[in-house]
């Protein structure tokens, strides 16, 4: 199990605000690693810096040994690193099928291989199959989240970054989304999961990092952290 994603001394400024103050962490191949923390701790900023939607001020990010902190945002996906962004951000005026097709936008392995992957996505997320011709903006929040995950799967990722996938969903749907994330990981995709729902995140993760106002304050085995007193007090409601 080699290191897949490595972040070293990352500093990101958001305008005048010093959002990330020099954090370092690794994600190993095959793992689910979660980054938990309160609102405004810098979780989304960290993911945006990895996906190059934000320019880091300092620090090195490498994926599968290749430095990516200077790369253009649209080239990142070509390495097999995809992101399911906060708030789903599906293309609301396109159909489910067209959204999935955009997920495969950079693939060059031919229409047959892509078509096979539509079936793979529909098999894992059957609700999308029923709604494949529906305009994405008319889907429910949970279905949009499934579409965002399905769309990310269409690029045949090695690693998936997920930003608050449970946000705004009912407890039942949260369960289902976490089951899907678990499945995705079992199929060989390494996962970096950002969550406010620390309880659920720590349950499925192998390891975790706790982020507080731009600094990593704690890290370790997910189950150990779930039983840690200060983590329980701050993030798990006592």
């Amino acid at each position: 199990m080699g290191v897949m994603l490595s972040v070293k001394d990352l500093v990101v400024n958001y305008g005048a605000i010093n959002a990330i103050k020099g954090i370092s962490f690794d994600v190993n191949e095959g793992e689910i690693v979660t980054l938990i923390g309160a609102n405004g701790a810098g979780k989304t900023t960290t993911l945006h810096a990895i996906s190059r939607l934000l320019k880091p001020k300092q620090g090195d990010i490498s994926f599968c040994g290749q430095p990516i902190s200077q790369m253009e945002a649209h080239k990142i996906i070509g390495l097999g690193l995809t992101q399911v962004p906060e708030g789903r951000r599906v293309f609301s005026q396109l159909t489910v099928q067209q959204n999935l097709a955009l997920g495969a936008y950079t693939r060059k392995d031919g229409a047959d291989a892509v078509a096979a992957d539509y079936e793979m996505v529909f098999e894992r997320l059957p609700r999308l199959k029923e709604r494949r011709r529906q305009i994405a903006g008319t889907l429910s929040g949970g279905e949009q989240q499934m579409l965002a995950i399905g769309r990310a799967l269409m690029c045949k990722p090695k690693m998936m970054l997920l930003d608050e996938p449970s946000m705004g969903l009912s407890p039942l749907l949260v369960q289902e989304i976490f089951r899907i994330i678990h499945d995705v990981n079992k199929s060989g995709v390494t996962v970096l999961l950002v969550e406010q729902n620390a309880k659920m995140a720590l349950e499925i993760a192998n390891r975790a990092y706790v982020l507080e106002t731009g600094t990593i304050v704690m890290s370790g085995d997910a189950h150990e952290l779930a039983n840690n007193d200060s983590v329980r007090k701050a993030y798990l409601g006592g």
């Binding site: 996906s51 190059r52 939607l53 253009e72 945002a73 649209h74 080239k75 990142i76 996906i77 070509g78 995809t82 992101q83 962004p85 708030g87 951000r89 599906v90 293309f91 609301s92 005026q93 396109l94 067209q98 097709a101 955009l102 997920g103 936008y105 950079t106 903006g137 889907l139 929040g141 949009q144 769309r151 690029c155 946000m167 705004g168």
Partner: protein, 293 residues
């Protein structure tokens, strides 16, 4: 019969507005900016076609081809040089840059071609169509304009809705960040949009100058503004909206000129815009953007 002839003229003029409005609306949809220099690209298209056809004596098709080529390059260059550095700047700065670019193009044309009007020779060579026993006469220019515009609108609609690149453009228009996560090159998409819009402006310029043959450096200004109105009227950012807005605007203008007052025609056109925006602020086919949590 008079009415029919005014209507056909209105549709023809409106088709030109529609083709120009497509450029405004696509650029707005993708880059979220109002490219006020768009109207002047029409004028550049007119001058290029004039130079190739009249000064150099080459056939009409060469003139059209040259106009499309030069305008496409011009549009892409304008975006690269003037607008791209301002991608993150306040929208007011971009707007003022666009207005500055508009005057720059007009004054460059003045410098190169002079202020004396050029007489544009029509690219259409076939005879007027006589219908209903000669009572309704449709000129070759009118007919060509309507046909060419219809083909452009159908082709563009198919391109945007049925092709992978078209879907990528829609994705960039809706959410640049998410589009980048899909691996879509946003800069290249914006360049492509300017290229298409400017190529359409060149075609519109040739059609416009064929129907109204006086070519001066400000030729593109008024049609540019009208087409902008058409784009807002139909719902800025919406492709079918720009088409509908353009054609309606042409019809309103033509009928007002015929039945109310030729001096009041422009005032009526803008008056209708104000009423439409009061009733439906997003324009006829404009969409309210909603967010789902």
């Amino acid at each position: 019969m008079q009415f029919l002839s005014y209507l056909v003229n209105g549709i023809s003029l409106g088709s030109i507005y529609a083709v120009i409005a497509l450029g405004y609306t696509m650029v707005y949809g993708i880059a979220r900016m109002l490219n006020f220099a768009h109207g002047d690209v029409i004028m550049v298209g007119g001058y290029i076609a004039y130079t190739v056809m009249t000064t150099m004596g080459m056939p009409a098709l060469a003139g059209i081809g040259a106009a499309v080529l030069v305008c496409t390059l011009l549009g892409v260059t304008i975006e690269r040089v003037a607008y791209k550095p301002l991608r993150e700047a306040p929208s007011l700065a971009v707007l003022i840059t666009a207005i500055g670019m508009s005057y720059l193009l007009q004054n460059l044309a003045l410098l190169i071609f002079g202020s004396a009007p050029k007489s544009f020779s029509s690219v259409v060579s076939f005879q007027p169509l006589r219908l209903l026993g000669g009572q309704l006469i449709i000129t070759g220019e009118t007919l060509t304009t309507i046909l060419v515009s219809a083909v452009i609108m159908v082709a563009l609609t198919l391109f945007v809705n049925k092709t992978k690149v078209g879907h990528a453009m829609q994705a960039v228009s809706e959410d640049k960040g998410a589009a980048q996560l899909m691996g879509i090159n946003v800069n290249a998409t914006i360049s492509l949009t300017f290229a298409i819009g400017s190529a359409l402006a060149a075609v519109a310029g040739v059609l416009l100058c064929s129907a109204y043959p006086t070519l001066i450096p400000t030729t593109g200004a008024m049609p540019g503004i009208k087409a902008f109105v058409a784009a807002v009227f139909g719902g800025i950012g919406s492709i079918p909206g720009a088409m509908l807005g353009g054609v309606l605007l042409g019809i309103i203008q033509s009928l007002s000129t015929a039945y109310i007052s030729s001096q009041m025609a422009d005032a009526i056109v803008f008056g209708v815009l104000i009423v439409v925006l009061l009733v439906k602020p997003t324009g006829i086919l404009g969409r309210q953007t909603r967010e789902k949590v």
